[in-house]
């Protein structure tokens, strides 16, 4: 793991997000977020609903205006582009959303949905188009006889395959997958996750994979970033974050996921987070977790937590954590 990590950090990142901030009025939806994604790498972005994950994704895709920071793709600052040059760069990034059916036009046949991005980007030749649509369908594991169906005539898992096929039509370098399997049964989730893992391997895709818990992203991510109230509180290589979580929020998230084994489940120690997450238009002063933090309680409520916001600091190779007191 440390070796691959070095290679990834040396290579020029495909995506570089620096100090990104997005505000909606008083709401600081994203509050100083930085990370990189290397070519071929998958970064899992995890946090409770409302923590700002989708807004990070939308700011990267330039679908929402940021109030600070930069997003660079292949070394180009996207915020500085407009017109044709922005459109060209945007083609390299595609998105897959949570609600597979809601993201497909109900009046279009599957073949037309897959052809649409090709048409928009100027492909005119009928035979080339049909070939490409058939290739895409095979790529995402859809039978040829699905081409003439409408979205309501296919299952949720199949609809998500169509959405993935549409995202791949223009051969992007980066996929932003925003909770792509959250609305599917776990038995079906695994089908779609395997498809994404295969595509990543065969096409060399980079991925920002957004999820609301740590179970879904585990097998597919190279690194994991954990978000809380608009900030990244921990970022580490996958195997480290599950084996040695350092941030008290990550620890509670991990301990909250039930395991499918009665004996182990009974013996598990839960670190229950008290109450609800605070509202992002009125975050606590200092550390965003200070109002609910189990570690702080354990230490006798040190004032430091409410005074200063802890910076995201590297504590071991590639392992970053934002907490005044977190230690191995």
């Amino acid at each position: 793991m440390p070796d691959t990590l070095k290679v990834q950090e040396k290579a020029q990142p495909l995506l570089k997000v620096t100090d990104l901030a997005v505000r909606f009025g008083e709401v600081r939806a994203v509050d100083g977020v930085s990370f990189t994604i290397a070519p071929g790498e998958t970064l899992g972005l995890v946090g409770e609903s409302g923590s700002g994950k989708s807004t990070v994704g939308r700011a990267i895709l330039q679908l929402v205006r940021s109030s600070g920071g930069t997003v660079e793709l292949d070394g180009t600052d996207l915020g500085a582009l407009n017109g044709e040059r922005l459109r060209t760069m945007r083609r390299k990034m595609q998105v897959v959303f949570q609600d597979p059916r809601g993201s497909l036009d109900p009046r279009m046949r599957i073949s037309a949905i897959l052809a649409e991005p090709l048409v928009i980007h100027g492909l005119r030749d009928k035979t080339a188009m049909a070939d490409r649509v058939r290739d895409l369908m095979r790529l995402v594991g859809l039978h040829d006889d699905m081409a003439d169906r409408f979205p309501h005539q296919i299952s949720g898992g199949q609809a998500q395959r169509v959405a993935i096929g549409r995202a791949l039509a223009l051969e992007p370098a980066l996929i932003v997958a925003d909770e792509p399997v959250s609305s599917l049964d776990v038995s079906i989730q695994a089908q779609v996750m395997n498809l994404l893992a295969d595509l990543r391997a065969s096409l060399g895709l980079s991925m920002l994979f957004i999820a609301h818990d740590l179970a879904v992203v585990r097998h597919i991510s190279d690194r994991i970033a954990v978000m809380y109230l608009g900030q990244i509180v921990e970022l580490a290589p996958r195997d480290r974050i599950y084996a040695k979580p350092l941030h008290p929020y990550t620890r509670s998230l991990l301990s909250a996921v039930p395991v499918p084994d009665p004996a182990r489940e009974r013996a598990r120690k839960r670190i229950i987070l008290e109450g609800d997450p605070p509202s992002p238009d009125n975050p606590p002063p200092g550390c965003p977790l200070s109002s609910r933090c189990a570690l702080r309680r354990e230490l006798g409520d040190p004032a430091e937590c409410e005074k200063r916001r802890p910076a995201l600091t590297e504590t071991a190779l590639g392992h970053h954590v934002a907490c005044h007191f977190a230690r191995e």
Partner: protein, 363 residues
Amino acid sequence: MTVSGPARSPDRPLLHLDDLHTSFAQGAIVAVEGIDLRVGAGESVGLVGESGCGKSAAAKSILRLHDPRNTRIGPGRILFEGRDLLQLSDEGMRKIRGREIAMIFQDPMTALDPVMTVGDQIAECLDAHERLSATARKARILELMKLVGIPSPATRMRCYPHQFSGGMRQRIMIAIALSCRPKLILADEITTALDVTLQAQVLELIRSLRDSMQLATIMITHDLGVVAGMTDRVYVMYAGQIVETAATDDLFARPAMPYTWGLLRSAPDLEAPVVERMVPIEGMPPSLADPPSGCRFAPRCPYGREICERAAPPLAPNPVSGPEHAARCWGTQQVKGGGWLIGHDWRAPNSDTPTSGKAGTNA
């Protein structure tokens, strides 16, 4: 805390669904087909399976919550403390709902009334069944809100549902369910829409209430993690039928049939090693308007043999674990052409060549 050790299905259960059928659309969709399910007093039972398998249809039948115009409940019996609820008048059912059996749903926002204060909603069942003075009524509301962990109840009781977070709304639903002190709670995917941290809070709450109030619960869920931590016995449901039932410990230690194996293999386990590929159940559950004629799981089953497509297996005791553990699978039954899965270790690779290789259609 859940009791460990073998949980026997109760001889004189609080609730007994006896060969229950529920169908929609003039019988064209049979969502519940001959279910036998028992819940003892104070017992916690899990009902687990993929979406569309009939779990909610079964639970709503118990309280007669379906639209009567397109729903037929029966044949079958719903015995509650020995009485068949299907024989009761609508008036008789009203006395059962909330007071004897209460139901909590996945989405509190659609179950709550948006223009009524939560205090009034918590008191609705009390108002219908008990004559309380204004002071006693308020005291009971505050007591219930405190019980489910809603901070500053005296001010919060005058708020409306949209002023609460998702986790708090689910607590309000629990307070409403508890208000008339029922003996049985039907909890239908109550934590599915919540974040894991809130799910942990709500499950902890249910656990403590259950112990202190001697409540029986049916936990309906598709999450085997929730089943593992919250139940004494489990019923696995597939395509309208119970396909396996056992004490929770026994089900996880010795699952008998391929559908349960599929659910277990695809359940995320944060403590297990990372794998390259996850193990899905191929395909998807059948439409209940036109289920397969043999074993309903056969089109997706990697272990199927010739007999599976020819005939529907009964729910029969599993020879390995004893009479309290039953499975609906020819592979576990000692009949001609069957029995090839008896004692099979589900973690071992499948050496069986599927004969019904139709699993190819992806979901």
